[in-house]
Structures are given as C-alpha cells and as structure tokens.
Assembly symmetry: C2
C-alpha cells in the first residue's frame, strides 16, 4: 500500500478586480502563485466570465430583465418557484437561474457562464505553462445548489489536465470483493475543497490544491464527461 496522501489547499492572494477583456493568465502570473508541477489550480467562474466578457446589461429597475436573460441562457426549464428557475444550460448544467449571477459584478451587468468552460480551463493551463513553465491542472468552479440537501457547494464546470471522474470500478475492496460503482467525481471534490479557502465575499478567486494523486492527471472535460446525458438521467 502506498503512503496515504496529504493535501494542502491555499488561496492565491493578490489578484485584484478582473475586468472585461483582462488577461487572466497575466493577472494570475502577476499574483506570483506558488505553483508546482502536479498542482491543481481552481479558479472561480466569476473571474473567468468577466475576463471573457461574458457579461450582459441588465436593467435593475425592470424585474423581468433578469428573467429574460435566464430564459436566453436556458435550453430547458426543470422547475420554477417564484423568481427562481432551475434550468438546463447549453452546456448541460442544471442549476439555478442558468448560472446568471449579479453578485460581485458591476451594477447594471449580469455575468453569464463561460461559453465553453473546458476551453477556458485549457487556455489558463496552456497560458500558465507558457509563462511560468509549470504543468498544473486547472478547474473552473461554480457554486451550485442541489436537490434534497440544503446549502450550496462548489462544483467543477470546466477542467484541463485532470480526469474529472476517477473510475475505481473493478478495484478489489479491502475484503477482496469487487467494488461495483465507485466512479468518484474528483473535480467536484477538488472544487468543493478549494471553495473552503476562498469564501464568497473576500475577493479571492483562485486556490491551489497540492498533493493530488498523480494518476488523476491527464486529459479530461467536464461538459462531455461529468454532465449526465438526459437519456441516462432519472431526474430530468
């Protein structure tokens, strides 16, 4: 048995306000994050959306203004209650208000999800490799609710350089029996772990997870591998 792993998780300080069109790789490099090969860098959706100018104007005086944006970002509405909509986005994510968010955004603007969050993650990863000569995995995280349980947790909406789901099916358990289903969504667990050092109101938007199992690293995408196709979903 290999020695049990140890994870370290810490935020990247010193990234200021991100504005539309900003070079997010440059802001990350300037923050001088202490990155090592094999680290996982988790970056929150909000700053990725801002840097990619995924912002649309919203009329704060018109209550229908946000509803129209949410409708435009939704391909299917699952539930409505009051102003809250649970819908499916073009990417296949099921979340509140199609991921449209007004918090931590300049008044009069709403942030949309990145167009292709896996591509966003690949660009950050490639950019950091090019400018810091460091080989890290990147996860773009967002804060989602879920059925049946109160409270929000962070999940991955995009990734690069890491397999999102680690398949332990068929690995013998400690009694020698075959495990039947143990496909662990490690990118969601990493996003959740990173959220705990970033908080919501402190302006931190990136965190490093050090010590992940190197066998998790490799090619992978959230949209094609984590999003459950409607045909195999029991709740859509």
């Amino acid at each position: 048995m290999s020695p049990s792993p140890r994870l370290e998780i810490f935020a990247v300080d010193g990234i200021g306000e991100v504005r539309p069109g900003d070079d997010l790789v440059g802001l990350l490099v300037d923050a001088k994050p202490k990155l090592k090969d094999g680290d996982v860098l988790v970056v929150t959706q909000k700053v990725v959306s801002k840097a990619e100018a995924q912002l649309v104007p919203i009329d704060p005086g018109d209550p229908q203004s946000k509803a129209r944006i949410v409708d435009g970002e939704s391909v299917r509405v699952l539930r409505r209650r009051g102003e809250m909509v649970i819908s499916e986005t073009r990417h296949g994510f099921v979340c509140a208000n199609a991921g449209v968010d007004l918090s931590n955004v300049t008044a009069g603007w709403a942030a949309l999800l990145p167009e292709d969050p896996d591509r966003s993650a690949r660009r950050l990863r490639d950019g950091l490799r090019g400018r810091m000569s460091v080989d890290v995995a990147v996860i773009i995280s967002d804060t989602f609710g879920r059925p049946w349980r109160r409270g929000l947790t962070d999940v991955a909406i995009g990734c690069a350089g890491i397999k999102p789901i680690v398949d332990l099916r068929g690995t013998a358990d400690a009694n020698g029996y075959e495990l039947q289903v143990t496909e662990v969504c490690v990118v969601d667990e990493l996003a959740s772990a990173a959220e705990m050092v970033m908080g919501k109101a402190t302006g931190l938007c990136a965190a490093v997870v050090r010590g992940v199992d190197p066998t998790w690293l490799g090619r992978g995408e959230v949209v094609t591998e984590v999003v459950r196709p409607a045909a195999e979903d029991l709740f859509r």
Copy 2:
C-alpha cells in the same frame, strides 16, 4: 481582511478491520491520530455502521434479498431503474439503495446507515475529548450519487461540533452589494475533501482536516439542518 486560510488534509493510518460491537473511539485513539483542537475528523459511514452493528444478514443466492432490505430502509421510493432504487431513508437522505451497502462488508451481511448519524458523531467527538483531551469536530461521511452529474462525491450524513451550513447571506460582496444566497454546506465540502485522501479500496476510514475557519465550529446536525424538508424541495 484576515490572512487567507490554508487547509491540510491527511488520512488516519493504522485503523484495522472494524467488527460489530468494536469500540470505535478506542480504535481511533489506538491509531494515535495527530489531532489538535479545532481539527475536523471525518469518519466514513461504513466503519461507524460496523461498530454500531448496523448489519443485517443477506442471502447472496437470492436476488430479492437485498431488495427487501432496501425496501425496509426506505420511506419513499423516488425512482427505480433495474436493480437500482433511489429512495428516501428514515433520516431524509435521498440516495441509491437507501444507503444499504455490500462492499467492504463480510460476505452474507449488508451494512445499513447508522440509526442516528448525528448521535454517532457526537459520541465519537465526546469519546475523543474524554480520552485524548482534544476538542475536534466530527463528520460521518458517505458516498452518494446525484442527479444531472456523473460520478459520486462524499457528503456528510452526521456531524458534531460544527455548523453544517455557514450562512453568508447579507455579507457584503467585494463590490459592496448584498449577497443573496450563499449558504455554503461546509460539512459536505469537508466530507468531499477528506474522501480524496481516503480512496475507496485502501482500508482508510478516517481523515483529518486542519485549518477550518473557527467560526464554523459549534453546534449542528446534518439530519435537521442539511436534509431539505419535502415541502421545500422541488425534486421530491
């Protein structure tokens, strides 16, 4: 702004096979975990259920045997597909097969969820305080699937000494706007983080998370605070 936090996560080695009636506090103490006040100890459901003798005989030759146990542990069935049942347990958890599990259990037996996982957590916490003079929070974790996303993640099914949901509603965001909904389920994020150092097949059943925000510590229960009552649930 306070300095950004740093989390450390490591497994507790040296806890052997747990058998019905075992003193789990004693096994934990004997493993000499390097616990400090303010740490969060995450313990997997399987060993808690074993120590509490939450085991029932199952006939491996009778395919209906497990189905009968799952039915007995369910108060409401949400979905069925083939042999898989998504149901609600007496505690209010919605999960596959009502949490009944055959992996890592002696052949001929199935493990049920603890009768009252928050009580289990309190007993572990009190026992460790009594025998190691250390004040830690305890989370009992289990591995659940979820709708819309592939892969499993660990969540908390019981806790003690920690508030399961940290309410940041009303805290000003970095732009001075009021955040509307940021109730973060930190016990689920902690369970997920701990899962990454335990794996599924290595016999590790406990992990320590060090460095959590001390304001999260306090009284709390998963069943009364995290389980979403059916009346406010859009997916039940």
